[in-house]
């Protein structure tokens, strides 16, 4: 069943259009930077961008920082929100279940397919950004964010890999919200928008002093902590909290999704 879901996801044109669009924004940013040579002042604008002009090796991390706040969560929420509700709306859910595909198995297969999509999207963004970056800006040993000693190529690759995994996990949190909502409603649009509403609420609360007590528990709180992977030495504090927070969110939400989906009447 997992293979069937992966095949369905990879065969859909929407998957590849979404990934292409995700790639377009960082590429556009790179081209604009390269042609105008106008980088943001250090400390302003998206992370890493000020340093990219002198070093294209840093562009994968910069590209992740560009798509992370909005583009990537939207893409993930669309795919995950569609997972169950899309089948319900098309009427194919009932035929899958009587084939029969167990409800738990179907949910797991959907989850795997969403995770695969997220990883493919993040990796494609990073790899494209690497080629675009090194091509447009040239490459140099990777400097660290805090201006310490430079990273060796092996270290740089490893840390970019870790960054990809961290961003992937953060997006899994988004996917879990959308998947849970997707088991409740028969409209994929409602599930996607619901998940995005959660993210927007979290972002708004983060900027609010009055919500300070909630801060450490907001799902988007540690998203940008992957920047700390490029410090020397790595600043683990926020990264560890970010991973722990996402793991709890993902665990609880998926459990709720499973509990709901395995006991609900499928009337679509």
């Amino acid at each position: 069943m997992i293979m069937v879901e992966l095949r369905k996801m990879l065969r859909r044109r929407r998957t590849w259009v979404t990934i292409a669009l995700l790639d377009a924004l960082p590429t556009l940013v790179a081209v604009l930077l390269a042609t105008t040579n106008l980088g943001p002042q250090p400390g302003t604008g998206p992370a890493f961008l000020s340093a990219v002009l002198s070093n294209g090796n840093l562009f994968p991390a910069a590209a992740l920082a560009i798509v992370l706040p909005l583009f990537l969560p939207v893409a993930v929420a669309v795919v995950a929100g569609d997972a169950v509700a899309g089948e319900a709306q098309a009427g194919t859910l009932r035929y899958l279940l009587i084939r029969p595909v167990g409800r738990t198995r179907l949910l797991v297969a959907k989850l795997v397919s969403v995770v695969a999509f997220t990883l493919i999207a993040v990796v494609v963004v990073a790899v494209t950004a690497y080629f675009v970056g090194t091509h447009l800006f040239g490459s140099a040993p990777l400097p660290t964010v805090s201006g310490g000693p430079t990273l060796s190529p092996a270290q740089a690759t490893l840390r970019t890999g870790l960054a990809i995994l961290y961003v992937g996990l953060s997006m899994l949190g988004v996917a879990a919200v959308a998947l849970l909502l997707s088991t409740f409603v028969d409209s994929p649009l409602a599930a996607t928008l619901g998940a995005l509403a959660v993210l927007i609420a979290s972002t708004v609360l983060l900027t609010l002093d009055a919500a300070h007590a909630l801060n450490p528990y907001l799902p988007t709180r540690y998203w940008l902590a992957f920047v700390d992977l490029f410090r020397q030495p790595i600043l683990w504090r926020d990264l560890v909290r970010g991973v722990a927070l996402q793991v709890v969110y993902v665990g609880v939400l998926l459990l709720a999704a499973w509990a709901n989906f395995t006991t609900k009447d499928v009337t679509s």
């Binding site: 095949r7 369905k8 029969p100 009447d265």
Partner: protein, 309 residues
């Protein structure tokens, strides 16, 4: 365990305060073509969904091919093919691709023979030359055929079909009917949910009738349609016949009389002996329509107050 293919006991489903299905005891036996009838909103679809484990019963039990549903539904469902409330498929993919995915999704279908199973199912429903067109370009009838093909994919022992001729032209309806009779002759039990009484009358050996969630009738069609004991006589000399038979005429419609009483042969002899010409003389049998309409109320889509009895 029982010999029945579908056996429900006091099957009940409540949605909030609405009782959609009320203590239904279905009994479908091997080899039946079972017609499941009832007005719109009488609970047919909810019942079918409970049989297949899609909707969970509030109380009561379902046994499908001897397995309790939903507890061990997976073991039974692999031997069941179903069409529930219209076909559904992935619109971007071709019919063949849809069937291939469906075959891969379920248990048991070995990969090397997958293409053969898909081809066979498409051929069965007359879609073998359909090519690579995506399903969204299919006509309603083609979609219906594709849905049937998906139901037939595993050579099921039991077919559960909800309005299988929906959207088909008379030719298509005839084909589906022939297909069902052929499959049944080869040993497939068919559970046919429909509100087309004529369709059910032509193929079904047993019927169950649902009205407002309750099973109000379950019997063999042959028994239901047994002669009523009356004889229908058509005669151009109707007035003379009425006065001759004196009180035994139960109903009269122009030249057509319904006569209570004697054997048709005796009645014929009596009439002819009196010089009354007879153009037609047959045993009265009730049609399925008369039977069903006699015991069911108006459907729930009628909202002028007459639905509330």
């Amino acid at each position: 365990m029982s010999d029945s293919v579908i056996l429900t006991r006091a099957l009940t489903k409540r949605f909030g305060s609405l009782t959609a299905v009320d203590a239904v005891d279905l009994d479908v036996r091997p080899g039946d073509i079972y017609g499941f009838l009832g007005p719109n909103g009488s609970g047919k679809t909810t019942t079918v969904r409970m049989l297949l484990g899609l909707v969970l019963a509030t109380s009561g039990s379902v046994e499908l091919l001897g397995e309790p549903v939903p507890r061990r539904a997976k073991r039974a469902l692999g031997r069941v093919g179903a069409l529930v409330e219209g076909p559904a498929a992935y619109g971007d993919l071709s019919g063949r691709a849809n069937l291939t995915l469906a075959d891969a999704a379920g248990p048991g279908g070995p990969r090397p023979t997958r293409k053969r199973r898909v081809d066979e199912a498409l051929e069965r429903v007359g879609l073998s030359e359909v090519g690579r067109r995506p399903v969204k370009a299919y006509s309603l009838g083609m979609r219906q055929r594709l849905g049937l093909a998906a139901a037939l994919l595993r050579r099921p022992e039991l077919l559960v079909l909800d309005e299988p001729t929906n959207g088909l032209d008379p030719q298509g309806i005839h084909e589906v009917r022939a297909l069902l009779i052929e499959l049944n002759a080869a040993g497939t039990t068919v559970f046919l949910s429909s509100h087309l009484l004529a369709e059910v009358e032509q193929v079904c050996g047993r019927i169950g009738v649902l009205d407002e969630g309750r099973l109000v009738l379950q019997d063999d069609v042959a028994a239901l349609r047994a002669p009523t004991g009356n004889t229908v006589v058509s005669t151009p000399d109707a007035d003379r016949a009425v006065s001759l038979l004196d009180g035994r005429v139960a109903a009269r419609d122009g030249d057509r009389l319904v006569v209570r009483g004697p054997e048709p042969a005796d009645l014929n002899a009596l009439l002819v002996g009196e010089g009354i010409r007879v153009t037609e003389l047959i045993l009265e049998r009730r049609t399925l329509e008369e039977i069903v309409l006699g015991i069911t109320g108006p459907g729930s889509d009628r909202v002028d107050g007459r639905a509330a009895r």
